[in-house]
Symmetry: C2
Subunit: 424 residues, 2 copies
Amino acid sequence: MKILKVNELVSIKRSIEAGTSEQQAVVKKIIMEVRDRGDEALREYTEKFDRVRLASFSVTEKEFKEAYGEVETELITIIREAAENIRTFHEKQLRPSWMKTEENGTILGQKITPLDSVGVYVPGGTAAYPSSVLMNVIPAKVAGVKRIVMVSPPDSNGKLPAAVLVAAKEAGVEEIYKIGGAQAIAALAYGTESITAVDKITGPGNIFVALAKREVFGDVDIDMIAGPSEIAILADETARADEVAADLLSQAEHDPRACSVLVTPSLELAEKVSVEVEKQMALLPRREIAARSITDYGVIYVTNDLDEAVETVNQLAPEHLEIITENAMEQLGKIRHAGAIFIGRYSSEPVGDYFAGPNHVLPTNGTARFSSPLNVDDFQKKSSVIVYSGRALKDNGAKIAAFARAEGLEAHARAVEIRLTNDQ
Amino acid sequence: MKILKVNELVSIKRSIEAGTSEQQAVVKKIIMEVRDRGDEALREYTEKFDRVRLASFSVTEKEFKEAYGEVETELITIIREAAENIRTFHEKQLRPSWMKTEENGTILGQKITPLDSVGVYVPGGTAAYPSSVLMNVIPAKVAGVKRIVMVSPPDSNGKLPAAVLVAAKEAGVEEIYKIGGAQAIAALAYGTESITAVDKITGPGNIFVALAKREVFGDVDIDMIAGPSEIAILADETARADEVAADLLSQAEHDPRACSVLVTPSLELAEKVSVEVEKQMALLPRREIAARSITDYGVIYVTNDLDEAVETVNQLAPEHLEIITENAMEQLGKIRHAGAIFIGRYSSEPVGDYFAGPNHVLPTNGTARFSSPLNVDDFQKKSSVIVYSGRALKDNGAKIAAFARAEGLEAHARAVEIRLTNDQ
C-alpha cells in the first residue's frame, strides 16, 4: 500500500458513473414502455433480462414460508436481533410535530407526516444482501410509512434469495414483486395494472437502476445515487496494525473502485499496516477485488501531527471513519464531515454494517460534506402550519401589505387588506 | 373561473421546464469556461449578459451603506421584524446531537453538524425580492453555517437593488458577489480566483440558473428546482367569497403558469368566488398575468361533502393550502400533503410569504407528497456515531461475523474476529 506525505489536495472523489449514452437510451426506452404498456412490458423485460416468464410478480405467502425453511435458524435469529437494534436506533430519530403559541392568539408550527408509500430496490445477482433490506426498510417503517413495497429481480426459476425474503418479512414488508432493473423503477414510479405507484424509491442497484432513478426523480423522490464505498481510518501509534489492515481490507473487498485510506502521524504504524495489508490480502477469497481496490485507491497518508490528520479527514469527508487513537472520543468534536464515525478499536466497521443499529446507507464520494446517513427524516416530510389570529392581522396587516407592495405584488397586499376592511 | 365537479384525476402537476437542448448546451459551455478560466470567464459573461464590466465582483461596505440610505426607514423596520420572526420560527427547528448509552458500555448516537458553506442565488431583473433573501439565508444562519455567500446579477450600472442588500445585511450575509446566471452557479460550485466554492446552493432563478443547478448537483448539493407557485383553498359556506377570491388572485399574479384552486362542497360559494375573481382581477396592476393563470390553471372543484374536499386536497398536495371552514383546526389532522397550511380566515397566504416566520420556499407541483418547506435540516447533516465496547464485541462478534459470511464478505468477518483473537 502506498505511503504518502499528506499534501493539500487530498480527495477521495472518483468520477460518478454517468452511464453511456447507449445505456441512457435503453433506460429511457424501458421506462416509456412500462409507462405505456404496464404489466405486459414488465413481463417481457423480465423474460428478456431475468430469463423467466412470470404469471404473477407477487411473492406469495407460500414463498415466504419456504424461505424460512431454507435459511439457517441461527441466521434468522441474528437477522431478527439486528433488525431490533436498527429499529431501536432509528426510533430515537423520531420527532414530534410541534407548535408555538403566541399571546396574540397566533399558532405557528410544523406538522410532521410520513410519506404514504415507499419502494425499496434490492439488487439481485450472485450475492444476496439481507442487511441492505433491513437498512432500507426499517427507517421507513419507523417513520410511519404505511405502504412499503420491495422489488428485486428473480433468478431464472422465478425465485428471490431466501435470506432476502426473511429479512423483508422481519423488517415488516408484505408487498414484494419479483422485478428488477430499470423496468422495476419505472413500475414503482408510474405504476402498472398490478403495481400501484409509490412516492419515493430507495435502495442500491446497477448502472441501469441508477440511471432509471435519476430519470424518474422529480415525479417521485429518490435517495442518493451511491458511489463505491470508502473508509478512512484515523489512527496513531496506539492502534494495532493488524486490526487497521483488516478494516481497510473489509472495505476493499466490496468493489475494485472502493477506497481505503489510513491517515496517521505515525510512520511506524504506516509501514506496519502496509505490510499487514499485503499479508492478510493474500488469504482473502475476494483478494483479486481487494488488490485492485488497494492498488488503485488505497493510500496511507502520514501527517506531521494528529491535528493535521484530523484536518485531512475533514477534507476527505469519508463515508466511514474509524478513530483509533489515544483518547479517541476527544477527536469527535473536531470531525466535521463523515457519514458514520466508529470510535475505538472495538468499533470495527462491520459492526455498523450489520448489527449495531445505525444505518449502513451512507453518503459516499465526499458528499458527507452535505449529506447524511439514510434516516427517519428521509421518509417523513414537514408542513408549516400558520394559524394567524385576527389580533395579529390587525397589528401586522399594514406591514405585510407594505412589504408586498415593495416587491410589486399588489394582489398580495389587497388579500390582507380586504380582511381588515371587512372587519371594520 | 371554471367550476367543475370533482373527479378522480385531480392534479396540479404542470410539466417541469427542462430547457431546450440549445439552452442546455449554453449552460454546459458556461460552466466549463468558468471552471477553466475562473474570474476571467466570469467577467466576460457578466459583460455579455448583464452589460457591465466589473473590476471586482464584491459588494463593498460603501455599497451596503448607500443601500440603507436608499430604502425607506419604514421598510427597513418591517424587514427587520420579518427577519426576527423568521429567525424565531427556524430556531425552533434546531435539534441537538444525541446519544444512547447501553449497559455494556456501547454508545450510539447522531452528531449534527452545520454545512461549512452555502451559496444563495438571488434573481435580478425588474422585481427585487428581499423576502426571498430572508427566507433562504436565515435558515442557513440558524443552522450554524459559518460562511454564507450571496450572488445576484448586477444592473448595467453594476449595482444590486438596495432592498436586497438591506435584507442580506439584516439576515447576516457579509459576502456578496455581483454575478448571476449559470456563470454564478459555476463559480459557487467550483470556485474561481476571487470566489471560494461552497457546499450547497439554494435560491430560485431563471431557466439557465435552474439548468446550471441541475448540472452541478452531486459536486455540491442544491435545493429543489421550484416550479410555478400554487394555492389550494379548502372552504365551506362560512368563508367570505371576496376574501377567497383575493387569495386566489394573490397566487395568480405571480406567474401565468401559477395555479389557483378552490375546493368546496358549497356550490353557492363556488359561484360567488367565480364572480369575485373576475371583479377583483379587473382592478389589479398585474391583471394580464393573473388572467392567463386563472384561465389556464384556475379551477373551482365542487365536492359532495367536506371529506371529499379534504381528500381532493390530499390528491393535489398543494404548495400552499388555506383552510377556511367551520372548525378549521379539526381538518388539520386529515391533511397529509401540503407545503404550508394556513388555517382560518386571517391566515391569508401573504402572511406566510412575508412575515409570520415559516418559510415561503415550499414544495411545488405535487412534490409536497415527499418534500418539505426549506428548513434548518437542509443546512445541517448528520453523522452516525458508534462507540462499540469490548464487552459488546465479545457478546456479538460471532453473530456479526456470521452475518457477514452469509453475504459472502469474508474480510468483514475477519475484521471482527481479529480483535476477538487479539484479546484472548
